[in-house]
């Protein structure tokens, strides 16, 4: 059982490593340089897939949280934790690459746009989620409390987005028409979708590895408890 899982993980890592190198090749050599924005537009191939992975990760936290409360199986809690941790990582990447791209293109680091602002609120939400987990030593209680936050937090996402769009959006629409919109060169599109696939695969690999780490931590904790009791 463990051997099979090891082989799958090893296979996935062997797959995602070269795929990421190929991804870089497609982004920097295959896809043409964008006419008005120039080289900086290459961030697009990292920024948008990272955003996709972040939202996917938080959705997985939501589903895993519901599944945990319904079934009380520890594996769902590990999935939620692993996915939240990887999601925060990618959400951070989004928030870092965004301003780097925005400065030369829009002339400003930050704009109070609904998507930007709600991504920032999202980041705070899930850092809070991880913080909460670190504050609850008891495993079962940690799983239940964080599942509640995982559900409430995710349901909050569309409400946050709407409220910011109604009241705090200061520019009508980005210069760059929504990313993968019309008029994208076929080679650009190929590079973009390949990047999207590679990032998603990377997400799967990282979550799997993180889940194994959580499991090992759980076992170590249980061993420690046993030892304490026997003393």
């Amino acid at each position: 059982m463990n051997g099979a899982r090891n082989r799958i993980d090893r296979g996935l890592i062997l797959l995602v490593g070269p795929a990421m190198v190929l991804n870089l090749f497609l982004i920097f050599y295959h896809a043409p340089v964008e006419r008005t924005m120039g080289l900086v537009q290459k961030i697009f191939y990292f920024h948008v897939p990272a955003a996709w992975v972040a939202f996917l990760a938080f959705f997985v936290v939501f589903i895993a949280s519901i599944a945990y409360l319904a079934s009380r199986r520890a594996s769902y809690d590990r999935l939620a934790e692993a996915s939240a941790a990887v999601g925060v990582l990618f959400c951070t990447l989004v928030l870092v690459t965004g301003p780097i791209w925005a400065k030369p293109v829009w002339g400003i680091w930050w704009t109070w746009d609904a998507r930007l602002t709600s991504t920032l609120v999202l980041w705070f939400l899930y850092v809070g989620y991880l913080l909460l987990r670190s504050y609850v030593p008891d495993a079962a209680r940690r799983a239940t409390l964080s599942a509640v936050l995982g559900i409430v937090g995710f349901l909050d996402v569309p409400i946050v987005y709407l409220s910011i769009r109604w009241w705090r959006t200061q520019h009508p629409s980005p210069v760059f028409a929504g990313g993968e919109g019309s008029g994208l060169d076929p080679r650009m599109r190929a590079a973009f979708f390949f990047s999207l696939a590679v990032f998603t695969l990377l997400f799967v690999v990282l979550v799997r590895l993180r889940m194994r780490l959580c499991e090992a931590e759980g076992r170590a904790e249980a061993l420690l408890d046993e030892r304490r009791r026997s003393l």
């Binding site: 939400l125 809070g128 504050y135 609850v136 559900i151 909050d156 409400i159």
Partner: protein, 222 residues
Amino acid sequence: MDGLARVGALLAKDLLLELRTRQGLFSMTLFSILSVLLLAFAFEPTREETRLIAPGLLWIAFAFAGTIGLEHTHAVERDMDGMEGLLLAPMDRGLIYVAKLLAGTLFMYLAELLTLPFFVVFFNVDILPMLPQMLLLNLAGTFGFCAVGTLLVAVTARTRLKGVILPVLLFPVAVPVLLAAVEGTAAIFRGESYAAALKILIAFDVVFASVAFLMFGFVLEE
């Protein structure tokens, strides 16, 4: 009706407790007024531009004070294991949520009312003509803030450091309520219609309170 009577009994208990000690409301109001004072130091209070940001300042003070109030309504149960007694009572745990939500909203609302005169004096804003609208909007905003807060304070109370991380969890989740409340208050200050903000705020209240009601039982289980 049975459920209503139980909520009433729980609420009466919290009110009586507050009436006897007066700790929660007092510290919350004091903190709220103190926040207004600090904000008056931070922003030149008599300048015309400060009027424009006054609704935001007011809600910053309310949100800070509300966090303290929520923490207090839960801390009273922690003190002598009051929560144990509540959990042993044969009733739906959602009712505990409803009672705590009503008590929290009431105390925070009272603290807001007691802060307003100080706000008027410090910032020289005449709120008397718009008082009825403000009272209504504040009630809706306070209810929404407490709807989320009552659930999250129960979550953070069961962590190692008790309420320390409450604001970190509460503020991001409460962003829609605070935004709607600030926008509504700003509309009132400008003399415009606040109906749109109020309606949306009430919708948020319903959504947050229903979700929190459903989740509350999970938080309390041992």
